[in-house]
Symmetry: C2
Subunit: 241 residues, 2 copies
């Protein structure tokens, strides 16, 4: 039986062997939730990049550019990191280059894995089904906040572990803790998270509506995966064929 | 109001500013539990050292030497890492040099802090009272297992947060998670930990009795703190004066 493990921070990723594994990269507030939303609204490709300048350069190739630093949209880019900005039809058929404080780093640091999937509560079931079909050992890579543990990414890891219970083994401490936290919090995730100064700091940036949206389960079928140098939506491809 | 934060692994310690803080170094299974036990049984000083050779060299100065690697007593040392080995009177009045896989590293990496206290369930109340008197910002530094998150050190952090609730503030995600885990687990910590392959691996080393012992709350008054180059028992000193 394949296993699930959880890495709480990109700063701990060097302790894990990614070879042959399926990584689920997660940054619930908001990078991966926003990427899932973008694909669900028809984005063709997403380039997750580390640096602002690198991201800006994609504009010359006709891409939309999106950038966030410390929770705020960076100046001079088409889009920020709010999922609501991706819902008005402007991303349909477009390629987007995106850089965020934590999320894009978690994705790019996972490049040694066999498969990289973009996880969010919004596409929990799509990711879970894909992992169950792959039957590779899974590592959930939490983006965290500037290298530190955060609750929302951990709660997602717990939700995924609960969904895959019985099909995957998990006896490692990080997954057990994530599952226990999710089971304590799931009746009202928003309320649970509101204890956190980190989440309140994000909510102070007037993204209260974003937080509520990003905690919804199974809103979208989108299944963004890493292919060569970019993210594509595996479920969109399946529909088109 | 001073605050409590939790660092889940020495690998994340560079993200925290230790200056002016009280660090509680914790390695429940078993380094810090054993150190507390040693002081409670009359040890005079403990030198926590990183390397086996450095530890061995202390023998020439008349010290007892203790060493553990991967859960097993290292060859050629007087003592291992089981608290029961420190209860028969042989440590009374003695200085001990000790090196372990995870615990001594967490202690030595915390040297930039204003105060370093050795925490275990065994001396939970002694540590909590000391912290409440100091009123410095607290950082619980979990030794983890080879850099990875572990449950038992996190549960201790949660127990300490619960004890200090109201006297200290904590709104950071790591402390909130630790508290939630402790409150889910505290009715039967041993049973909760038995889900963990990490703890089962330790128990396979025939330390089942050690695990049970180390999860007991408030068995000892010992309060080991770092002074200059070694650990001393602050409560023992107080009694002697």
């Amino acid at each position: 039986m394949a296993s699930i493990d959880v890495c709480y921070s990109p700063e701990l990723l060097h302790l894990y062997d990614l070879k042959g594994k399926a990584v689920v990269a997660v940054d619930i507030l908001r990078a991966t939730s926003t990427m899932v939303t973008a694909f669900a609204h028809g984005a063709a490709n997403i380039f997750p990049v580390m640096q602002l300048e690198e991201c800006r350069a994609f504009a010359a190739q006709g891409c939309l550019t999106a950038a966030e630093r410390n929770g705020i949209k960076a100046e001079g880019f088409d889009l920020g990191n709010s999922p609501f900005a991706y819902m008005d039809g402007q991303v349909t058929g477009r390629t987007i280059a995106i850089t965020t404080t934590n999320g894009t780093r978690a994705i790019r640091m996972s490049e040694g894995a066999e498969e990289i999937v973009i996880g969010a509560f919004l596409n929990l079931e799509a990711v879970a089904s894909h992992l169950a079909a792959l039957q590779l050992d899974v590592l959930v890579v939490c983006a965290g906040w500037k290298g530190m543990f955060n609750l929302e990414d951990t709660l997602y890891a717990g939700a995924l572990a609960e969904r895959l219970q019985g099909q995957f083994s998990f006896e490692n401490d990080a997954t057990l803790a994530a599952l226990c936290l999710y089971q304590s919090a799931k009746a009202d995730l928003g309320n649970f998270l509101r204890q956190s100064s980190h989440v309140r700091r994000l909510e102070n940036l007037e993204i209260h509506q974003d937080v509520e949206f990003c905690l919804q389960h199974n809103v979208y079928e989108a299944l963004p995966v890493w292919r060569q140098d970019r993210l594509v939506d595996l479920n969109a491809t399946a529909v088109e064929q």
